[in-house]
């Protein structure tokens, strides 16, 4: 009892001594190397996790949209693979990432007789698998929302399924899913915070460490919160800009001219 009242006294005087802004400045000044490490880890895991998740999504999306073969054996294999992908998607979308982290991290430790994965690669794996489940659905949606006429146009000229996908469908799919992919990245920047449960030094975990030293719960988490916001806000703006760039030029140049039929026809924009 005595100890606790002593502690509250100390805290009370500290609060009087140090104003809000002073505390914030102190937190940043004292802990900026840790905060920078947290930011770096958060961005690293979110970025790599989103990219690998997207690759998983594209791969599963492509597999799931292959037309069923006429060969019964191949058809059976295709169906089994599709069911496995569906199960993966359902499980990882239907459970919290925090719990997935623990299951994967400690499951690995259990299976290998106590070896734990290094936490950052473990975090990347967890975020990738989790994001992959969402991306699988996003990519599939991005493919099946493309007009059937695009497939038929390609097939009618003699392109096979793979040629149609790579030349016509996937470029349009990427454009369709870009906003959702950006969104997933921003979500991942925030959701890497759950990886503190396996001990990753991401931004939230850094906050956790800071308060153990200064006991300024509110100010510390507020600083962390603002940093998260600055990160997501900046990333959102940058991705918007990229989306706009990729949406392409709305104008085109008319080549040659009708009044001068001999005008040379310039070939451009073939990429």
């Amino acid at each position: 009892m005595h100890f606790i009242s002593n502690l509250t006294n100390i805290l009370a005087t500290q609060v009087q001594q140090l104003g809000f802004f002073k505390k914030v400045v102190t937190i940043i000044k004292d802990y900026y190397p840790n905060i920078l490490e947290g930011i770096a880890n958060t961005l690293l895991i979110a970025l790599i996790g989103t990219v690998i998740g997207l690759l998983i999504g594209v791969l599963t999306g492509l597999i799931r949209t292959i037309p069923l073969s006429k060969n019964p054996v191949v058809k059976c294999i295709q169906k089994i693979v599709n069911v496995i992908i569906s199960i993966y998607v359902e499980i990882f979308r239907g459970t919290p990432m925090m719990v997935q982290s623990m299951v994967i991290f400690w499951g690995f430790a259990g299976l290998t007789g106590g070896n734990t994965l290094p936490v950052i690669p473990a975090g990347i794996i967890i975020v990738s698998i989790n994001t992959g489940a969402y991306m699988a659905e996003i990519v599939r949606g991005g493919i099946i929302s493309i007009d059937k006429g695009q497939f038929e146009g390609a097939h009618s000229l003699g392109m096979n399924h793979a040629q149609t996908m790579f030349n016509v469908i996937i470029p349009q799919m990427f454009r369709n899913i870009l906003p959702s992919v950006s969104n997933e990245f921003v979500i991942n920047v925030k959701d890497t915070s759950v990886l503190n449960v396996i001990g990753v030094y991401e931004l939230y975990k850094i906050g956790d460490i800071i308060i153990k030293g200064n006991f300024w719960m509110f100010e510390t988490y507020l600083v962390i919160c603002v940093i998260y916001f600055i990160l997501t806000f900046t990333i959102t703006r940058i991705l918007r800009l990229i989306e706009k760039k990729l949406a392409g030029n709305e104008n085109y140049v008319i080549c040659g001219s009708q009044s001068n039929p001999d005008a040379e026809i310039k070939v451009g924009g073939t990429n």
Binding site: G149, G153, S156, G158, M159, Q172, Y252, G268
Partner: protein
């Protein structure tokens, strides 16, 4: 006359719905065949079966005497020789007009970019679209899109082009420009099968007219005979209804 495509007892059902009931038809080299008939009579389905966008339920389709459904038949190179032009154009939205014409040549015919581009520009010139090679499909009018789609088909150097109502999705003032292109193609000796509601085109350009009714070929004749002296009641009714409009 040299046969290119033969349909023998062709049938196609969607579930219980028998859309093509027994089609027998021969397409000879250099012919311009117009296919007319009321909506739902199976015209598109027949064309799509020929291009194998739809799998026939039974019957045979022969291309230069070869069964196109046999295992050893190369479907992709067949489709390049028997291309299709659609009512909705189906241009690739992610490519410019030029690239729409270049890419299929590179992918299917394995041409290099330079020669494919050269040939594509020639075809786009034929349809009067060489000024718009850098435009994306969504920047073109319907008539312009359809002309690019025709150029894209020509780029495959096909033996046959199948047209499925190529002018039906167009505003009236754009129908003419597409029909002009098709007329000029007809003069080159290209074999064409055209599903159309343009009776003037069927009468003046085609070498044969086919009237489809409820999944059957109800009447088949030269354009002169077909329009001046139709044999079947259904044909007369159909033509009468058309003349009213």
């Amino acid at each position: 006359m040299e046969k290119i495509i033969e349909l023998i007892n062709l049938k196609k059902s969607f579930g219980d719905h028998e859309v093509l009931r027994d089609i027998n038809l021969t397409l000879n080299r250099g012919e311009i065949v117009s296919v007319i008939g009321s909506s739902g009579s199976g015209k598109s389905t027949m064309l799509r079966c020929i291009n194998l966008l739809e799998e026939p339920t039974s019957g045979e389709i022969l291309f230069n005497g070869e069964n196109i459904q046999s295992k050893s038949f190369n479907l992709c190179s067949y489709r390049a020789k028997v291309c299709m032009v659609f009512q909705q154009f189906n241009l690739f939205n992610n490519m410019t007009a030029l690239e729409n014409c270049v890419r299929p040549q590179m992918v299917v015919l394995k041409k290099d970019r330079q020669s494919a581009t050269q040939f594509a520009i020639e075809q786009l010139e034929k349809v009067g679209m060489s000024a718009f090679i850098n435009a994306k499909p969504n920047q073109l009018s319907g008539g312009q899109k359809q002309r690019v789609a025709i150029a894209r088909a020509l780029c495959m150097q096909p033996e046959v082009i199948l047209f499925d109502e190529p002018t039906s999705a167009l505003d009236p003032e754009m129908v003419g420009e597409v029909l002009e292109v098709m007329k000029s193609l007809a003069k080159t000796g290209l074999t064409m099968m055209v599903v159309t509601h343009e009776m003037a085109f069927a009468r003046d350009i085609s070498t044969r007219v086919i009237f489809m009714d409820e999944g059957l070929i109800a009447e088949e004749n030269t354009p002169q005979e077909f329009f001046t002296n139709p044999q079947k009641e259904r044909t007369k009714e159909f033509l009468a209804r058309f003349l009213e409009n």
